[in-house]
């Protein structure tokens, strides 16, 4: 891996009896969009919480932009943006106020605050809703606002924890557009968790598949698909590495064949 911006080594996180992350080692290249995939309980959110300094690791290490998440948490916090899984903009505040509080917490100097907020609002198509309370927003608008909140300070690494979960198809597409724009401009490295393989396939330069807190597979979506077979999709790759292995392997050929039949039949 060239120039990794996130380096995770032998990372372990235990909760009482549960080992959520189990000797995980992986990296993310600078400027890449990396998809962290896995079934529910695979440890995705725990990894994100550790990388965003919300949760200390039990053992092992994690570095973001060269800073250790435990030893140098403040330096990490200054260079990251984070959109948690829940729709987390404050519903009792306006869109503008939600942005303002983040601008202040990230030490944006007063002289650039207003122009950054104005630019972010127009980029997200929220100018007209700016002074309305967020509880009048749709799910897609809230997510857009949150992406604006988390990029106001121009982070080096942006963490998106299931950013499209629970959104209608149109809103999902809006969020995709935002992520694609960030990607095209190569403005920051993005680590995204998602359950939607089509999403990962379209957006991600690299994916890491977690299973029971361990790294089951990693690489570019294309390489992973190619390794499995000529017509394999990322869904197949996912099933191969996270399913109850043997059965799913058998099932893969079958579903794959069925689908190709379906494709031919149109």
């Amino acid at each position: 891996m060239k120039d990794p911006i996130i380096v995770v080594e032998h990372l372990v996180r235990r909760f009482a009896t549960l080992t959520a992350v189990d000797h995980l080692t992986f990296g993310v290249s600078r400027g890449a969009v990396c998809g962290l995939l896995g079934r529910n309980g695979a440890g995705k959110t725990t990894v994100i919480k550790i990388l965003t300094t919300l949760l200390p690791p039990t053992s092992g290490s994690a570095r973001v932009g060269g800073h250790d998440v435990l030893q140098d948490a403040t330096a990490v916090r200054r260079m990251i943006g984070y959109v948690p899984q829940a729709l987390s903009a404050d519903a009792e505040l306006t869109g503008y106020e939600n942005l303002l509080i983040m601008a202040k917490l990230y030490d944006l100097p007063r002289r650039v605050r207003e122009q950054r907020i104005t630019a972010a609002l127009s980029l997200m198509g929220l100018e007209e809703a700016a002074h309305r309370l967020v509880h009048t927003y749709s799910g897609g608008m809230i997510r857009s606002l949150e992406i604006a909140q988390s990029t106001l300070h121009r982070p080096t690494v942006l963490f998106l924890d299931e950013p499209t979960v629970g959104l209608d198809p149109l809103a999902r597409r809006t969020v995709w557009e935002h992520i694609k724009r960030l990607k095209e401009r190569q403005e920051c490295t993005i680590l995204i968790t998602t359950h939607y393989m089509d999403e990962a396939d379209q957006l991600c330069d690299e994916v890491a598949i977690l299973h029971h807190g361990r790294l089951a597979a990693s690489g570019t979506p294309d390489a992973l698909k190619r390794a499995l077979g000529p017509h394999a999709s990322l869904d197949d790759v996912f099933a191969r590495f996270t399913g109850a292995d043997a059965e799913v392997l058998g099932a893969y050929d079958e579903t794959s064949r069925t689908r190709h039949v379906a494709d031919r039949l149109g």
Partner: protein
């Protein structure tokens, strides 16, 4: 560096123009104010709680106070009982608001708001202090309701400017002490149900083990000892010294005003430090 025109493109990412890190104390103060300001925006939009909170003090002053002052059972050292009671009820109503302040971070944890704050370069002490400060301002509104009520009931209070300013400081300090204490509880119990339970269990003992409705001199020794580790006692003692008219031979304060300020300030610092330490627990 000048920024010509609105910055519509978000390029120039790598060149981060964040303010150089301020000293810790300035960062805490500035960000605590920012958080308190947001909280007050919310309060301004939905002030219903301020009115519902006014019911209890009315009962204490109009029912309990009026009856007890007729009974003349409590020796208040020459101060009319209703006047003696006003600072007690004032502090009590502040306590009852502040002690439930912590539930807001349990809500915000469920909403993910706290996650974002904790992942930002904001000192944990600023997150606690901001919440506590908002609790303090709520308490000031409540205090003005109680004082208005006292005037309507014809209680003779001292309205010296210095006394009022001191009272404002004491109300703020007291409310912030119990707000930050409440945040610490929320970080430990982590669920609404348990938090409400603990809050209910704490309010009455804190209230009765204080000088709110009777002087500590009437207490059995053990209770008097307990009342002296209760911050509420110092807040009320100070409020009496500042708000009650001083007649010759009557001492409203038994502990001493500067001790009252001091104890509350030190207690506040301690609870802010403890809550700041516990704060990340809420998202784990």
């Amino acid at each position: 560096m000048r920024h010509p025109g609105p910055d519509t493109s978000l390029t120039g990412w790598a060149e981060s123009d964040l303010r150089p890190q301020r000293t810790w104390l300035f960062a805490v103060a500035g960000k605590a104010m920012a958080i308190a300001e947001m909280e007050l925006h919310k309060l301004r939009r939905d002030p219903t709680e301020l009115f519902t909170r006014a019911v209890q003090p009315v009962l204490w002053l109009v029912v309990f106070g009026e009856v007890m002052s007729r009974a003349r059972m409590i020796d208040t050292g020459g101060t009319p009982y209703l006047a003696f009671l006003v600072p007690g009820v004032l502090a009590q109503s502040v306590l009852f608001i502040a002690i439930f302040n912590g539930i807001s971070i349990i809500w915000e944890r469920d909403l993910g708001i706290i996650h974002k704050f904790l992942a930002s370069p904001t000192p944990r002490a600023a997150l606690v202090l901001g919440k506590a400060l908002a609790g303090g301002v709520r308490a000031l509104v409540q205090a003005s309701v109680v004082l208005t009520l006292a005037v309507l009931l014809g209680v003779h209070l001292s309205w010296r400017m210095a006394g009022l300013c001191g009272a404002i400081v004491l109300v703020l300090l007291g409310a912030m002490v119990f707000s930050s204490f409440s945040l610490a509880i929320a970080c430990v119990v982590r669920t609404r149900e348990r938090f409400m339970g603990v809050g209910q269990v704490l309010t009455m003992p804190l209230f009765f083990a204080s000088n709110a409705i009777y002087p500590t001199s009437l207490m059995p020794t053990w209770l008097r000892l307990v009342s002296h580790v209760n911050p509420l006692t110092y807040q009320i003692d100070g409020l009496r010294a500042l708000l009650l008219p001083v007649a010759p031979g009557v001492t409203a304060a038994h502990i001493g005003l500067w001790t009252d300020y001091g104890v509350l300030a030190v207690t506040l610092a301690a609870w802010v430090a403890i809550s700041a330490k516990l704060y990340p627990n809420i998202v784990r």
